[in-house]
């Protein structure tokens, strides 16, 4: 296992270099490089099919890029299994909510604590002693998250029965339970109404403040992106077309063309 450094705020947490990802003959991502600094909110935007979700999948090891290098916390790798990424502090939420539908809100968030629970199987057989202590300890932590996200009332509801907005919130809670170093949010506000969006923005900002988590965010709502993020990376057809602060990106001619279309 490689050595992973602790990164000070403002330094480079993740660096993606010249990554190319192909499915058969289709190039999903072409030669994209960018970095994420510790403590910032980094947005990845772009039209549909630009390769944003694929990029997140590459970062947390679900897809393996054919070319390029990824350096995370000072260690470079080309291939990594998702559970290893999770163990090193990369958590994420999904575009189409990927909760464990048969389980309650509480259990879903408790699953996020799995990595931190290492008491041997033996104790779980009796559900006493160390196993129970551990369970209670983590339950306390989970209750804090539940409190933070204001979902106390649905604690014991199976998540399959919850409305979409709440499911997204539970999913964020599950990711937060992992106490991630880097949190990847895939369209956290898709399909929400204005009020829910405002709530979600608040949670994202609070997360950054309270836990010091670095956040990479995919979002289609440009207003939200420009308000929340420190730096924005714009993809189109798998290529990076712009990168910089929201103001810089807003002024970039290529971005305006990509979004508004251009007369050829």
């Amino acid at each position: 296992m490689k050595e992973f450094k602790t990164i000070a705020p403002g330094e480079e947490l993740l660096n993606v270099e010249n990554v190319t990802l192909r499915f058969g003959g289709v190039k999903a991502i072409t030669d994209v490089s960018f970095n994420i600094k510790k403590g910032e909110v980094r947005a990845i935007i772009g039209p549909n099919g630009a390769g944003k979700t694929s990029m997140l999948n590459v970062i947390n090891g679900f897809y393996h890029p054919q070319e390029g290098r990824i350096t995370y916390r000072g260690a470079t790798r080309s291939k990594m299994r998702p559970h290893v990424a999770a163990a090193q502090g990369i958590a994420r939420t999904f575009q189409n909510v990927a909760l464990f539908k048969g389980m309650t809100t509480l259990d879903n968030i408790m699953v996020g604590r799995t990595l931190k629970m290492q008491k041997p199987f033996f104790w779980h057989v009796f559900r006493h002693g160390p196993a129970m202590q551990e369970e209670i300890e983590h339950r306390k932590f989970v209750e804090e998250i539940i409190d933070f996200l204001e979902i106390e009332h649905i604690r014991k509801t199976p998540v399959g029965k919850l409305p979409y907005g709440l499911q997204k919130r539970v999913e964020l809670g599950r990711a937060l339970a992992m106490q991630p170093e880097l949190l990847l949010l895939d369209e956290p506000m898709a399909g929400m109404n204005l009020e829910e969006k405002e709530d979600m923005c608040r949670f994202i900002l609070d997360t950054k403040e309270q836990y010091g988590t670095t956040i990479a965010l995919i979002e289609h709502d440009i207003g939200v992106v420009m308000d929340l993020s420190d730096r924005v990376c714009v993809l189109e057809y798998g290529l990076k077309i712009a990168d910089g602060t929201p103001e810089e990106v807003k002024a970039n001619q290529k971005v305006i063309d990509a979004y508004l279309g251009v007369a050829h």
Binding site: G24, T53, F94, A98
Partner: protein, 316 residues
């Protein structure tokens, strides 16, 4: 020991090629029958995404109905028509009673429902026609009996006429089905449904109707398989274990591919006969019962999507 496993069987094959051809032929014929059962699975899986565990039982059920009706004094050809009618009623009933209420449930629930169907069919069949094995009415259906002996490769190889007929009928049916899928309106609708239920609905294809048709088609395939199979051995629900052999065939061929079902069937049929004949004696015989599953399992490890399946790209 290693010699016995790795070399000796091949020496035997070379030493008596007539026996080899005979075993190969036996394997091919049982392969055709497996392929026919698998074909019924594929039809239903393609059109409704239902993994129909009951297909093997439908084969026995159809055969039993045919023989049972004949025993009760119905002339053979009318019995065939009546059995077709029964399969049609079964298709409608399955669509109404099982599929329609379960339409939006996960695949696994539908899979389990077909388990229920299996037992319902066993129950009905046994209740009406009794549990004893019956003889297939081979002659009344004008199927050839007897065998052709060919002197070749320094020995005598026996081809049952019935087996030849089975191979011919099976090929004809497969060609017919492919033409049906390719060139008729219903065939097109079936392919559309297989691709996406919702999209098919939105262009005005009636799912219920399609499902009934597909189950009926699978019923016809089952009847023909039942006749062939019954003629080779006998008709009884004891066959259901053998019918399960269609499952490794499906794994080999992929759940959605008709050519896959056929080639998979032949590979399994030949593979298990060869294994039994040449390797079976080493461990005391009887390996025919599980070797098919082991072949399929070994294959799966190497190619999880089957012989003709598309490469699976997981998305999230």
């Amino acid at each position: 020991m290693l010699y016995n496993i790795l070399i000796d069987p091949f020496v035997q094959m070379g030493a008596s090629p007539d026996l080899f051809v005979q075993t190969l032929w036996e394997g091919l014929v049982s392969g055709v029958l497996y392929a026919l059962i698998a074909l019924g699975f594929v039809l239903i899986f393609k059109a409704s995404g239902v993994f129909n565990f009951a297909q093997g039982i439908m084969v026995v059920f159809a055969g039993l109905t045919l023989v049972g009706l004949h025993e009760k004094g119905v002339p053979a050809w009318i019995a065939v028509l009546l059995t077709l009618g029964v399969m049609y009623v079964l298709a409608i009933a399955v669509e109404r009673v099982v599929l329609r209420p379960l339409v939006n449930q996960p695949d696994i629930i539908l899979f389990m429902a077909t388990f229920g169907l299996t037992y319902v069919l066993i129950g009905i069949g046994e209740f009406i026609f009794g549990g004893e094995p019956k003889q297939m009415i081979t002659e009344q259906l004008f199927l050839p009996t007897g065998s052709i002996d060919v002197n070749m490769l320094g020995g005598r190889v026996t081809f049952q006429k019935l087996d030849i007929a089975a191979a011919v009928i099976a090929s004809a049916m497969i060609i017919g089905l492919s033409l049906f899928f390719q060139y008729t309106r219903i065939g097109r609708a079936l392919r559309a449904v297989a691709d996406s239920h919702k999209a098919a609905l939105s262009v005005g294809i009636s799912l219920n109707q399609i499902w009934a048709i597909v189950w009926f088609a699978a019923g016809i395939v089952a009847l023909i398989t039942g006749i062939m199979w019954g003629a080779r051995s006998e008709v009884s629900f004891g066959l259901d274990i053998i019918a399960l052999k269609a499952l490794p065939v499906l794994i080999l061929g992929g759940f959605t591919s008709v050519p896959g079902a056929i080639i998979g069937g032949l590979i399994i049929g030949v593979g298990e006969k060869m294994a039994e004949f040449y390797w079976g004696p080493l461990v005391g015989g009887g390996i025919e019962n599980w070797i098919a599953y082991v072949i399929a399992l070994g294959f799966l490890m190497y190619r999880p999507q089957g012989l003709f399946g598309d490469k699976i790209i997981e998305r999230i």
